[in-house]
Amino acid sequence: MSLDPARDPLDVDALLDDRSTRIVVCCGSGGVGKTTTAAALGLRAAERGRSVVVLTIDPARRLAQSMGIDSLDNVPRRVEGIKGEGELCAMMLDMKRTFDEIVEAHADRERAKAILTNPFYQSLSAGFAGTQEYMAMEKLGQLRARDEWDLIVVDTPPSRSALDFLDAPKRLGSFLDGKLIRLLMAPAKVGGRAGMKFLNVGMSMMTGALGKLLGGQLLRDVQTFVAAMDTMFGGFRKRADATYRLLQAPGTAFLVVASPERDALREAAYFVERLAADAMPLAGLVLNRVHGSGAAELSAERALAAAENLEERRIVDQEGGKIGVRSSFEAPSSGAPATQAPDSPGTPGGSPSTGTPSEGTEPAPVPEPDTSIAPPAEPPADSSVERLTAGLLRLHAERMRLIARERHTRDRFTALHPEVAVAEVAALPGDVHDLAGLRAIGDQLAAATGDPAR
């Protein structure tokens, strides 16, 4: 890895091995590899002996397949092929199913039926933006209450703001405490009471306005729904509040996931601040898709200059060798111009035949009288090899620039939040397709502390 290890590496294994860690929440903006990180962490924890359930919100089929499950649903499914004593289960949040289950569990049959068939309920539960957050919290609370697994890894909904789920209980609470709910239930509840008469006038005026707006039948649907849910709402809120407190408790760890890009890290900084404001325990930042290079000592500038140098020589070569056939290894004719080419002005390269280090290189090795560097012994650099080499150098220059940009972006984040521990995961050329791929990511997540030389 050529990115300097971040100041304060995140010790993923210590976090996963700590039996008092019961919940790990992965949050971050869309497209940064949150779900994959959650799955990789779950797998690693399981293979280190823990009994883990991964709750994912994102219905990425590929991820389910990478864990050997055709499709994930609302029930935890056991993942096969785990090494060691631990256990891994995975599930995907099904909003409607979760909502239905709550209704079935907390209302008597009559009432449950009334709610489940209510048209307003049916659209609400089918999952508009927002329902997901409540249900994610609800499911997390349920899993924790079942206490069947000693670690829950949860991936957060890809919402408008990925911390919406933190606000869900509060919103629900302010709604339940608000006057609106009483208003909506007005016809059923307030109707007969004399003491409420004044309020009642105002209310019927308001229900009139609402009726006008929504259409009488929708208002009736909403009212029936609210009335039927009335007894359950309290329970909802209590549980949502309990889950919120659970998130603040020791035993919960938040990991903010990002990629080394400006927008993703800006969001990450926002999460870090928001988590602090809510007194949520932040374990660190997982930085995915970080690029590195095995040849980091060669700078972008030098690589580009060398590529240009090679390309210029090829032009000279082509001009000088018109008579020659340009077949590979046609030694003398194509090799000769290469070694004799004078230094073109402005190119930092020295004549290779002398073995002198080029200017612009750092204190370069003293020319060694190694016989192997004598030009005659070299296989001739034919033009296709030179073209390949120039391409390799350009590719490298691009990589080095990318690394520099990523480092700059990351450093801006760490300067703002030096307290946040960081684990970096190298960019993969393709997607993860199996447990081995997830395992490799887990290794990288943990490598931040193990082997800084990577």
């Binding site: 302010s174 608000g178 208003l183 308001m206 707006l213 290079s293 060398a306 940009r405």
Partner: protein, 324 residues
Amino acid sequence: MSRLQVVSGKGGTGKTTVAAALALALATEGKRTLLVEVEGRQGIAQLFETEALPYEERKIAVAPGGGEVYALAIDAELALLDYLQMFYKLGGAGRALKKLGAVDFATTIAPGLRDVLLTGKACEAVRRKDRSGRFAYDCVIMDAPPTGRVTRFLNVNDEVAGLAKIGPIHNQAQAVMRVLKSPETQVHLVTLLEEMPVQETTDGIAELRAAGLPVGRVIVNMVRPALLDEAALDLGLGGAPRTAIAASLSAAGLGGSRGAAARLVDPLLDQAAEYAERHALEASQRSLLADLDLPLHELPLLSEGVDLAGLYELAAELRQQGVS
């Protein structure tokens, strides 16, 4: 050209950038476009390097040929009050509803209603005419929610029209759906040449079509330049001539000694192998996208990140590819 262009895509594919570039591209030769943000992220303000956008249409850029780009960040709560006032002259009721918590309810607790307000406001801007009877905007570009949610988001009015079977909300929902399902609307999807975004694009198109929403173009964003040609790749990967490469590096002035140059060969070839793997993957994803049989566009990766100049560059690229 459709007058409402909706831009969606998987998270992280750069849909805000593409929407902004599209707005610039469409606002040419004196045309006016409105760029609408519905997710309250202030991504547009960041792109155009201006302060946070209020709930107010404001000019943020001038396009080539004297066109103008306006921007609006739709706030669900203000849109609701706006809407009550505009359609029902219920300004006062709006305040009362707010006091009751009904506005909160509508914009956050009952999330479907939030989407109704956002789509409703965008469609209002599409249909709005000035005094002379000319459309206020030649084109409205919406930076929409991500692919996974966009169908539900756009279709919310259908759901609402089904729930509220009569009354003004029903009528309003119907009117919005008429705009969204007409040829006046196109939904574009932004993707990257990677497996998950391409998969999501394919799924998203199927969903949009099933819902009767018009799919427009597929825009591949952040396409990397080809740095190694096929011939070089073949040579570099099929038993690469390591010694020759080392010689070549050393001839180019790197390393000074053969030893130093030779040490570079393996890491450089590793990078080439990664490049080749990625390149092959991109080619397969590109062919999957071609199978979709939709207009396909590619925008280059701006290696220095997207700034204002980059945005104009992308807009020029889109124009050149004939999107405006």
